[in-house]
């Protein structure tokens, strides 16, 4: 297995039940997906459970991957994040308090934000460009919903803005993102 083997090729091999390809896929993508889950759930144990459940599905569904469904990491993100949102919205999960060790501090740290990482080498410059067309507060609302799994109410509380304003921001931002991404396609 060469290190540079594309994620799409690894997924194709997973579809043939190639365990080594699955392991390579896991090694290359699990840290990003675990980071996503940690921030969404704020619960290490739950994030680890969801990561495992997600990769079981990846193994079972690798043959369903098509390039038209997006980049491999987008497709993996769809599987993993859907599980997380589903768990959060079913309401049988109580968020734990924030962990106070180094790992959590790093996650909670404002550091380089998603915008900076989207501009980075492994990022998505097109998406970054589209996000930049949004005003800062609506963009922040979308990020809080996507990365932290916040509801409209929670976003309104965090940004100290009226609920109606936040709902309109999110709705309009999604519409603008769609238009912008379609123009690029």
């Amino acid at each position: 297995m060469t290190p540079g083997e594309s994620l799409a090729a690894l997924l194709a091999r997973c579809a043939l039940h190639d365990r080594r390809a699955f392991e390579a896929l896991y090694q290359q993508t699990a840290p990003t997906l675990y980071g996503l889950l940690l921030k969404l759930t704020r619960d290490r144990e739950l994030a680890a459970d969801l990561l495992q459940e997600g990769f079981v599905r990846v193994w079972q569904r690798a043959g369903d991957y098509r390039p038209t469904l997006g980049q491999p990491l987008t497709w993996l993100g769809s599987i993993i994040r859907h599980l997380a949102i589903d768990r959060l919205r079913r309401g049988d999960h109580r968020r734990r308090g924030e962990l106070d060790d180094d790992g959590w501090a790093r996650l909670a740290d404002d550091g380089p934000g998603p915008e900076e990482r989207l501009h980075g080498e492994q990022g998505d410059a097109t998406l970054a460009g589209c996000l930049e067309t949004l005003d800062p507060e609506p963009r922040r609302a979308v990020f809080l919903a996507y990365y932290e799994g916040l509801t409209h109410d929670a976003i309104a509380a965090r940004l100290e803005r009226p609920l109606g304003t936040v709902k309109a921001w999110v709705r309009r931002s999604l519409r603008r993102l769609k238009t912008c991404l379609e123009e690029d396609a």
């Binding site: 997906l33 990769f55 987008t74």
Partner: protein, 223 residues
């Protein structure tokens, strides 16, 4: 909610994927999803759009238990017992008798009547047989795909003969739909046909290049 109005359908799908659709509205939407393909398409499109954001998450090394748990769940190791364990002994005896039957019956089952001693089984890493290859007396290869596989539509599996230090010689495209295919032996391969069989997977659209390493490989077995 009138989910047949495209703008509403689209904005509900977007908020469903983002996670801001919640409570009773989310449950109602999920019930509608099951019955409305257009809604499922809208959700898939929004997943493709919004989950491009996943690439910008912070990377955090997952705990090693996650991978161990995956291996345990997906690839359970066969149980190991001491040699004197009577159950294992019985299993071994049973396996031996099954093998004997396979060896006796295999030429009739897997190869046409005119087949000579060339037979090979190509297995995946879980040791499940994916294809059998039987060489007939006229040199042609009868390739059976034992069960249909889910292949990406733009990829195909190719069979190669690798002998000596030279590059592998392509024998043909392997069936992946559970069918049997007959492949002519290339004129460049002179009998006796020796060496390893290699399987590679590559895009349908590009001309096959001799591989430097196989996805799966196997040797001829004499029957």
């Amino acid at each position: 909610m009138n989910i047949h109005a495209p703008p509403l359908r689209d904005s509900l799908a977007a908020e469903y994927v983002l996670g801001t659709l919640r409570g009773a509205a989310r449950q109602r939407f999920e019930r509608l999803l099951a019955a409305h393909p257009a809604l499922r398409r809208a959700v898939a499109e929004w997943e493709r759009r919004l989950n491009r954001l996943a690439v910008a998450s912070l990377s955090v090394a997952p705990p090693p238990e996650v991978w161990r748990g995956l291996e345990h769940r997906l690839f359970p190791a066969p149980a190991r017992r001491p040699w004197w364990d009577s159950l294992t002994l019985w299993r071994g005896l049973t396996l031996a008798s099954v093998l004997a039957v396979v060896v006796i019956l295999a030429p009739q089952l897997a190869t046409p009547p005119e087949a000579d001693a060339g037979f090979a089984a190509i297995r995946n890493r879980q040791h499940e047989v994916l294809w059998t290859v039987a060489r007939a007396a006229d040199g042609r290869l009868h390739v059976s795909n034992l069960r249909a596989m889910t292949m990406p539509p733009d990829q195909q599996c190719l069979l190669w003969l690798k002998s000596g230090d030279g590059p592998p010689v392509m024998l043909g495209t392997l069936p992946d739909d559970g069918s049997v295919r007959t492949l002519p032996m290339p004129a460049s391969v002179a009998p006796p046909v020796q060496g390893e069989l290699w399987v590679t997977m590559q895009p349908v659209a590009t001309a096959p290049q001799p591989p430097t390493q196989p996805l799966f490989q196997t040797r001829w077995q004499a029957l």
